[in-house]
Amino acid sequence: MNKRKDLLLAFKKSLAIMPGYIVVGIGFGVMMSDAGYSWIWCLAMCIFIFGGSMQYAAVGLLSGGASVLTTAIITLTIHARQFVYSLAMLDRYKGMGWVKPFLIFRLSDETFSIVSNESSLPAKVDRKTFYVGVTFFDEMWWIIGCVAGGLIGPIIPFDTTGVDFAMTALFIVIFIEQWRGNREHRPALTGLAVTFASLLMFGAEKFLIPALIVIISVLIALKKRIEKAEALKENRRTEN
């Protein structure tokens, strides 16, 4: 009974991801069909790669005839953040049993933004049901989008240029939600400032890995201060 309620909550949370995923997924499918790949390839890439930015990059690699080494290096660059997401989910995914590999391999930017946002969860929710639900529904939206794009790509009647902005809009929304849910804003501000500086210094192709490294270093350097500030705020809250 409660499990059904938790699944419903997971479904509602994934609805926020749906428009972005379907639209960006269709964009991917259209690109693939332009490159000569049918919807079966789209489906295979959803299952084996699973990652929007990586799948977009993959179209270019495949049609450009990239080497195995280049492909490995680009995957490493774009999916380095997956390593960090897994790091951040270590404790929360403890004791998940046989579904754990599924949760890990199907963790995307968007799923991460939901399952890592502790403050948006009701206290009574069954974590395992909720995590599996969000991960599963998000993946379904993504597959539906990618396959639909592969199928209808060649026959879309209007210009779809710019639909990929749905993903940007989604991250802005998630950022605002996170900001509201957290009392401590230094991590978010660090992320903004460091990534922006890294983009200016290293350019659009190479800024992600330096940004990740510096963000982690700054957060570690701020550890004492952030924990002290949180303890203070917690005290003030309980006193009032």
């Binding site: 084996f48 495949l62 005839g65 492909t71 270590l90 991460f112 991250f171 900001w179 957060l219």
Partner: protein, 110 residues
């Protein structure tokens, strides 16, 4: 027209590297081990920093120096932020922002 064995090889490489990155932390800090305190701390405070990183990531290809100077992106992004702070309706914020952006780049800043 497409080279099937080559395509499968490339997808396998991407899949393998991606899986390795995702599973490695869980292999290093397996469940039998106590998670180090610093990792628990990062688990709590990294997420908001990474979401912030993704917001910037979305604007990586925007050029401020050449026309239209990133105006469509910034107008649409501002609309999303204002709508969301005001109405707090995710579908509305994303839908309106995306349609606004499409109109801007297809009809206004052409």
């Amino acid at each position: 027209m497409i080279n099937v064995p080559y395509s499968i090889l490339l997808i396998a490489v991407m899949s393998g590297v991606s899986a390795l990155l995702r599973f490695l932390p869980f292999i290093i800090f397996h469940e039998g081990r106590e998670t180090p305190q610093i990792i628990t701390y990062l688990g709590k405070y990294l997420p908001p920093a990474l979401i912030a990183m993704l917001v910037i990531y979305c604007f990586k290809s925007v050029s401020i120096v050449s026309r239209p100077h990133g105006l469509p992106e910034f107008i649409a992004a501002a609309l999303v932020a204002i709508l969301h702070i005001w109405k707090r309706n995710t579908l509305l914020s994303i839908g309106a922002g995306t349609i606004c952006y499409m109109i801007l780049i297809q009809f206004v800043f052409v």
